[in-house]
């Protein structure tokens, strides 16, 4: 049915120049990173954050203890 209604039948061919423009002067496709790599990067990022938080907490605890120690020694 639709074939009866094909009104614009003329097709122009793809010229060699256009082929060259599209195929030879294109930047190469940037491949998508695999999912496992994205997940691993995410895990490393979270681990680093957790480690940094723990480090800061420990530092603070250390200060607290040393202050108490000093306080006791004054007494």
């Amino acid at each position: 049915m639709k074939a009866d209604f094909t009104l614009l039948k003329t097709r122009i061919p793809v010229s060699d120049e256009l082929r060259a423009r599209c195929l030879e002067r294109q930047p190469s496709i940037k491949p998508a990173p695999p999912n496992w790599l994205v997940a691993a990067s995410f895990l490393v990022l979270i681990s680093l954050n957790v480690a940094a938080c723990l480090f800061v907490l420990k530092q603070q605890q250390g200060t607290h203890v040393s202050y108490l120690n000093n306080f006791e020694s004054y007494e």
């Binding site: 209604f5 003329t10 256009l18 599209c22 195929l23 491949p31 998508a32």
Partner: protein, 178 residues
């Protein structure tokens, strides 16, 4: 048809396959939408640039052909808008404006098309925007109703309605032309 997974991974061979399959369709769609071979070739190149940039993020929710047609439509519209900005006084308007896209420049199509096709193409340009786009895609016989609906992001029934109205309109023009 190219393998989408390999295409996503950057396979040049698959990109060439995609080019061989899609380039004639893109070129001719752009030609009928823009009315000029040089512009159509420029848009085709732009479409392939967009494919290179965007294929890694292509989710395959629609077919690759639909995705490529959608890019083509957007690029044609972008092209006409840029051309309009440069040439405010021209008659050429956006693909998505409610006016004909044509043209104070003589479209090159007059030399390319057969007389009957040229007449029909001119009549199609007088249709409202959505009818014009749907009719152009349909009249080229490249896409089904479903595919046109996907490309234009409307329902199949909307396409049926657009094409029905377009055909009614075209039938009205015929007696005046002949």
């Amino acid at each position: 048809m190219p393998n989408i997974e390999l295409l996503r991974l950057g396979s040049e061979r698959e990109f060439k396959k995609l080019f061989e399959f899609q380039a004639p369709r893109i070129l001719n769609t752009a030609l009928y939408l823009l009315g000029n071979r040089q512009d159509a070739e420029d848009v085709t190149q732009e479409v392939f640039k967009s494919i290179v940039v965007g294929v890694a993020g292509f989710k395959a929710e629609s077919s690759i052909q639909t995705w490529v047609y959608r890019i083509t439509l957007n690029k044609c519209n972008e092209f006409l808008r840029t051309k309009n900005r440069k040439k405010r006084k021209g008659v050429m308007l956006s693909l998505f404006d409610s006016q004909p896209i044509i043209t104070e420049e003589t479209p090159e199509l007059v030399h390319i098309l057969k007389e009957a096709e040229w007449q029909i193409w001119q009549q199609i340009q007088c249709l409202p925007e959505k009818q014009r786009i749907a009719m152009t895609l349909f009249a080229m016989d490249d896409l089904s109703y479903q595919e046109i609906a996907d490309v234009m992001k409307v329902s199949v029934s909307a396409i049926e309605s657009l094409l029905f109205r377009a055909r009614t309109q075209l039938k009205k023009y015929k007696p005046h032309e002949s």
